[in-house]
Symmetry: C2
Subunit: 367 residues, 2 copies
DNA sequence: ACGCATTACTGATACGCATAAACGACGTGC
DNA sequence: GCACGTCGTTTATGCGTATCAGTAATGCGT
């Protein structure tokens, strides 16, 4: 027998990667333990079903692996297993914007946790940011297929591309309601119930006439809130109808102190505003109250169907509800993981959390 | 010739992964373009050297790839070529913690940008969080080898595992100074200079006795600040020595108003606190000043060697310095990219930015 | 003593890609 | 007209692991 000093270097790896003192392979463990590579794989993957391994062999392999400091190569494992335990996260704005308040950050908190808990790692794809490799090219989206499935955030997901992925059977989940695209799974928050609950709270305090201030936008998030608002009125046997909703394309301009006083004179004692990304409705409401020289909750009650805009978080805490964003993120990951696993799972709407706040009280005449 | 309906299913894939209309392989692109798989690989890897490909073929392949939505499998790439344009980001705490202020988030802003600019995608590996799959197992770290290289954040990186990666030649960079591990490349902020600069600022205002309040922790970030503080005193020819440093395991308990008055009586006119993740030193200092009924900067000057904790950002802006976290993140990516490319590059310390703030002024007797 | 399970393991192969080597077709020089 | 180079492409092979299909070796019933 002749010594074979053949090392492992037949291939012209890039000079860059040269010199790597490569770590041990299963084959080396096998040699040391006096078994075959397949046996090493069996022992280390700890598959009890199917093939049996004698305790003695198992121990020899384990010892050999330990003494060599064997660590499996994840790339090879994933290749062989035909999946890579990667979930994509695609947002159409920078994933890490400088302004944390209005970013997707809170969602990611939950996404990360749930993904980690399920043994997935996250690949971040950024739609807009960067000018680097393959950033804004039309095929930027196809890059996500490198993951086992992908989560989409943001309103501006290109429908065509998404539809294609769905059609291809690529597991995809959208964070936020998305009904217009048939077959696109999504998770969303239960704005309807939460809005109804806020109305219920006001009704319980004694308010009999309540007005919803909303913007002129038919996003699902807006219509859901209005629906919940109206249902809440109905449940409390309060007057609903068109005059209970003030819809304006420019609330900050239209919601004058005069108008506010007019409502009060008519017996309206409470107002609720929808939450939008600009927070215009809530801003307008607060400003009008201020301008009219009124104080809240003494003269009237205010509630916000969502979380306050970044610049108003510090002001008196608004009564309303919080969207459990981390929980939403987690729910999205659960759904995505299920689809990656080939299940047809469905996630229910995520419930919002009522926030008592300090902007509501009994109506003036009852104080 | 007989039709061969052999599909791709000879292997007993886990039932879980069944049903997937699996994404296209190079082989399928090749078939569509009427060329061999190798040609597809050549075209897509855009290797201009060595083999030449006719423009016509190249175009056919590119078209086919696009129409099928082909995306390379990172695991296979990594296995075959030892690279896949993926950079890992490994943190030993959740990467997206609930408390944004003291998270790694600001670093990631820079990391993401720089990575995108260089054509890398990011894979987030989460070390500690979760209790789920393979979280705290000893080989949890080995997953990162799926990427071309990995960035590590956090103080608690397991030395043994890191050492091993370094020894194996796996490109690794630590964000934050890490001297104790021979050969571990890192990027860090120049706390020494920045701290010295803050002391210089105080000295220039006329302060002659300055005390550093720090916690009982020997992290590099702490010792650097102390060193800079002492060097700053020396440069200003002010008294240094042990009594210039107040070190306490529980600053909030130990830093009593009495102690504060005692210092003032002894002629101390300014205090600087180190920044830590808890912000305990700064909290304690602010509280003691408050409790002693003193006002700042009238009765004494305060400075913070870093950024204020999240709950105190709104209070009077602290004199001190800001750590350019995004820039640090970007620098780390640059270093990592260089190492992935096999270069022995080195990134200099990143300079911190002096923040004038409003908590310092001339000492009382000079006002 | 023979068939037939069962146990304990090995050999071979595929995962998807990159790359060295081989190859045919086509000039080009002499 | 023949060796030789060049171009464009294909063939063959390996990366490290998981798994399936075998194959000896042993046990067991009849």
């Amino acid at each position: 027998m002749v010594e074979q000093p053949k090392k492992r270097s037949r291939r012209g790896r890039t000079p860059a990667a040269a010199g790597r003192t490569s770590r041990p392979r299963q084959a080396e463990v096998a040699r040391l333990a006096g078994v075959s590579q397949a046996t090493v794989s069996l022992v280390l993957s700890d598959k009890t079903q199917g093939s049996a391994i004698s305790d003695e062999t198992r121990q020899r392999v384990l010892d050999a692996a330990r003494s060599l400091g064997y660590v499996p190569d994840p790339a090879a494992q994933r290749l062989a297993a035909a999946r890579n335990n990667l979930l994509g996260v695609f947002s159409f704005t920078a994933t890490f914007p400088t302004d944390v308040q209005h970013s997707y950050y809170p969602f990611l908190v939950g996404v990360e946790q749930e993904a980690a808990a399920r043994g997935y790692d996250l690949v971040l794809f950024t739609g807009s940011s960067s000018g680097g490799a393959g950033a804004s090219r039309p095929d930027a989206l196809s890059r996500v297929r490198l993951a086992d499935g992908c989560l989409f955030l943001g309103r501006h997901a290109p429908v065509a591309e998404l539809k294609r992925m769905v059609a291809d059977g690529f597991p995809v989940v959208h964070l936020g309601r998305r009904d217009e695209l048939e077959g696109l799974p999504w998770v969303g928050a239960d704005y309807v119930s939460a809005s109804g609950e806020v109305v219920g709270h006001l009704a319980a305090l004694g308010h009999r006439r309540i007005v919803l201030v909303r913007e002129d936008d038919d996003a699902p998030a807006s219509t859901d809130r209005q629906q919940g608002f109206l249902e809440g009125l109905e449940a409390a046997r309060l007057p609903g109808g068109p005059e209970a909703v003030f819809r304006s394309a420019d609330p900050e301009g239209d919601l004058t102190p005069e108008r506010l006083r007019h409502w009060l004179a008519e017996g309206v004692t409470a107002f609720v505003a929808e939450e939008t990304d600009t927070g215009a409705a809530w801003h307008a409401l607060c400003r009008a109250v201020d301008a009219a020289g009124l104080t809240c909750p003494d003269d009237l009650s205010l509630a916000l169907l969502g979380s306050p805009p970044g610049d108003l978080v510090a002001s008196p805490q608004a009564t309303g509800f919080d969207i459990p964003r981390p929980e939403l993120g987690a729910a999205a990951v659960r759904l995505l993981a299920a689809r990656v696993a080939g299940e047809e799972a469905d996630e229910p709407l995520v419930a919002c959390v009522f926030r008592p706040g300090t902007t509501t009280g009994r109506p003036p005449e009852q104080r």
